[in-house]
Amino acid sequence: MFKAGLEIHQQLDTKKLFCSCESYLSDNVQGEFRRTLRPVQSEMGEYDAAAMMESVRKRTFKYQITENSCLVEMDEEPPHEVNKEALEIAIEVSLMFHCKIVDEIHFMRKLVIDGSNTSGFQRTALVGINGYIDTEFGRISIPTVCLEEEAARKIEEREGQAVYRLDRLGIPLIEITTGADMKDPSEVKKIAQIIGYVLRSTGKVKRGLGSIRQDLNVSIDTTRVEVKGVSRLSLIDKIVKYEMERQNMLIELAKEISNRKISTDKFKIEDITDILKNSESKIIRNGISKGGRVLGIALPGFKGLLKSDKFRLGRELADVVRVLGIPGIFHSDELPNYGISAEEVNKIKDFFKLKDNDAFLMLVSDPDKAKEGLKYIIERIKAAKNGVVPETRGPKDDGTTEFLRPLPGKERMYPETDVPPIQIDSNILAKIKNSLPKSYDEKVNEIMNEYNLSKQQAEQIINESMEDKFKKLFSIYDDGNAIFRTLFNTIPELESSGMDVEKITMDILEKIFQALRQNEIVKEAIPFILEDFLRTGNIDFKKFKVLDEHDLEEIIKSIIKLNENLLNKENIEAVLMGKIMKEVKGRAEGSKVNEMLKALIKKEEK
């Protein structure tokens, strides 16, 4: 059965969490420095799997210093006291999800050694626990609300080096985790929207691209796969669909491995550089000329499992080594191809003494890395017999996902001893409790009543976070439907016809609704005015001045005349109405036109 949960990360609009630097992105790079990070072993002598995998890459990290970063972000000074404002927002959000506030808050260090944190860990604290949200789908649990530090911003990734900028490091983030309670992609989307509203309703969160990120947990059996950083809600459907297919494939693959009675106990890494030293394949040739070796393994019984209509283990394996900095693998389900000849394939098969149902794979890289890569591949092949592997994946633009790293274990959490534990003052707690923003449902009702709109319309306003714009425009012209139509029909239609609707600022909209209020124009003119504005760059209400009765009558009459053949037909009114409105170009109210048209038709038909 399909199950999904969400993890939502939202940047707060305060100063940074553990220093007094401002929270924004900066292009003002003032200096840089280089560091390396090492996996640290737990007291039991164990390393975190995700950390170990990162360490194989042996990357160095370059950090760019900006004016909004200080010694704290450089990992050159202990964290200051936690930002009180950020903490209060986290409490507020927790309370809105009916969480219990932790009696004493303890910041932890969560090991992250991909360089995105100069310290090698992210500071994070549990603030609220055991909450929930009620929706039309039922109750969704919110097990945790955490307050944590944003990571540094990745600027560039080169071979052996990643470049990060410190502007983003330390911006407060709220992390909201839902239970894996959702059974349908549309439910996931809805929950994400409600959570988004709750966060925005505090009025203290950052807006715009990258300020909110969703991680998606998808599982169809008992294994959790985390898809990190789904920034667009519209991708959720696709990702869920793709992940279900992928996970189903892995489950089928495990069955097939068992049916074929394939042993995955032992694989031997062989150096087959000699066979390929004169290969036409550019990748192989370049690899060898840079001192690399081609290493491969035989995969007895695996034919068709690496790539066929049903199975795609090859892609999973390629993913694993890509993370280590090896661009790809070659395997027999795809060969000969990529410049590797049938003759070479046969030689390799002979070398490995392969039978009909066997497969092989190989890769080229510097000898140590190639060996390390194959070790990870062998581990991944062994894991294939268990079906889905718990891991962290990343979304691609097309809704597919790719392997990022093993799912980090809880071993990677240890106390941030530099930050003292925090007890929440009961007065502050009471104050926050008494001034909580409206819940999602309350807000929907409020908007329905205030603007006389349907539930669906009200939800759309909230989901697209248009409450403020709406309120402002309504204060100028109190026709909720006209405002709704402009914001959610007219403008998107103009956009889909290829126009740059970014130019339609609040100023422009306010001007138009002012004109409406003063009866200079009628609301039917709005699409025409906006289109005209986008074409000419000017707003000219005179062009759209309401026609006087006589002129309007002339237009209607002329159109009736042109369509005399329709007289006495049933649909005449509807057909002519469209034609007239097109001609009128918003210079008359529809109801008025309709009234006159009716009368004139009646007259003619007599």
Binding site: E104, S119, F121, Y414, P421
Partner: protein, 412 residues
């Protein structure tokens, strides 16, 4: 029932039921707070209310490090004498407590680069933060170092950074004619952190073992980057920043060596010789005083009459107020040694330039050139215990603590 950190427990309060591993109490935690580590790895503090109850699920498991450093019995013989400090700080992942000690084995295990190059013999002398280090500790270290040199080409001493330069100075005076390098090494970020500077500093210390250096040096990050490490002369180095990796700076001189891939000597240095000449007695009746405006002459006299020597960190070129000078005269007459250094840190004292300085000299104060106040303090204890001509020893360059020249590029 007795609970101890590490036990898996279930706690019930009015708020709800929690399950997790019991953690040791944080010193800043509320009195009625119990800390547990939840299944998801997070710690939370739970307040004991009226309906509080705690139930044991299972006792703590005790696990021990099993890995041991291999006895190579090949490669360069190196001794590592641990003393404690940040470089040796480790978090107990089970309980979350920060422990002041990690075995030197663990530390060295974490540096795979060591390979088979060195035959490392390592042991802990003590496990203390360096602010607790005193003269007795210096003496123990000196004696142990002398012993280790019988069978080692060099000694590495991981040490807390706060007073590392004091210990380095003490060893520089106590042990002369060194048969190999004594390298003091510390860290500003503890070894349990992925970003710790300990590894690079230790690695650089090991590289120094292969050279012909015969001095006490302090090796710490040269910049904020993990790129180069400097070896500073033990009597010319000072911790100049509370928290940065590159907190240690050579004062009034350049570092002895810059260590990247290889060791590059960038100043003159003493080469190893031996046999070692130990003089480890110290006269502890010594104080280090920071002069400030309005210093009370009676208090100064009271303090001064209880000791055998005073180092004053004076203002500017080494001055104290006119008001104090009679006290200096009286104390010197009573046999107290009074040495003058500067709180400017950079530059040399000079008491010939202004009238106050000249009067100070007449009163018997001894200007100590560009010697750092802390170094002068340590040297004075050593000089008073081992020599009768204290003034002569104090003004003579013994271990590189006095530079004759200061060049333009060596400032900050």
């Amino acid at each position: 029932m007795d609970f101890e950190p590490g036990d898996l427990v279930e706690i019930k309060t009015k708020q709800g039921t929690y399950r997790g591993v019991l953690m040791p109490k944080h010193i800043f935690s509320g009195d009625d707070i119990i800390i547990i580590k939840l299944e998801n790895g997070y710690n939370i503090g739970i307040k004991k209310d009226d309906s509080f109850s705690m139930k044991l699920i299972s006792k703590a498991e005790s696990k021990k490090m099993i890995k041991k450093i291999k006895d190579h019995k090949k490669g360069l013989k190196v001794s590592v004498l641990g003393t404690g400090g940040t470089i040796a700080s480790y978090v107990d992942y089970r309980t979350g407590a920060v422990k002041p000690a990690v075995s030197q084995e663990e530390l060295l295990l974490a540096i795979p680069e060591i390979g088979d190059k060195y035959d490392i013999r390592s042991r802990n002398l003590f496990s203390i933060f360096s602010e607790n280090m005193d003269v007795e500790h210096w003496k123990i270290i000196a004696k142990e170092v002398e012993k280790e040199f019988n069978d080692s080409s060099g000694i590495i001493i991981p040490h807390g950074t706060d007073t590392m330069s004091y210990t380095a100075s003490a060893l520089s005076f106590m042990l002369q004619n060194l048969p190999g390098p004594i390298v003091m090494v510390g860290a500003q970020r503890s070894s349990d952190r992925p970003s710790s500077d300990a590894y690079l500093n230790l690695l650089a210390s090991l590289k120094l073992m292969e050279t012909d250096l015969g001095e006490v040096v302090v090796t710490m990050h040269g910049t904020t980057s993990d790129s180069i490490v400097y070896a500073h002369r033990g009597v010319k180095v000072r911790k100049m920043h509370t928290s940065r990796r590159d907190a240690f700076r050579s004062i009034n001189t350049r570092p002895i060596a810059e260590i990247g891939e290889n060791v590059k000597f960038i100043s003159d240095y003493r080469k190893k010789s031996g046999p070692i000449i130990p003089k480890i007695a110290m006269d502890e009746r010594a104080i280090l005083l920071y002069y400030y405006p309005n210093m009370d002459r009676d208090i100064l006299y009271d303090i001064g009459s209880r000791v055998h020597g005073i180092i004053i960190a004076g203002t500017g070129l080494g001055h104290v107020s006119q008001n104090i000078i009679p006290v200096i005269r009286d104390l010197v007459r009573d046999g107290v040694f009074i040495g003058i250094t500067s709180q400017c840190i950079y530059g040399s004292v000079n008491l010939n330039v202004y009238a106050t300085g000249r009067e100070m000299i007449r009163a018997g104060a001894v200007p100590l050139y560009d010697m750092l106040p802390e170094v002068a303090y340590v040297k004075m204890m050593w000089a008073m215990a081992n020599f009768s001509n204290v003034k002569e020893i104090m003004t003579k360059n013994i271990a590189g603590e006095i530079s004759e020249r200061r060049v333009g590029l060596d400032y900050v």
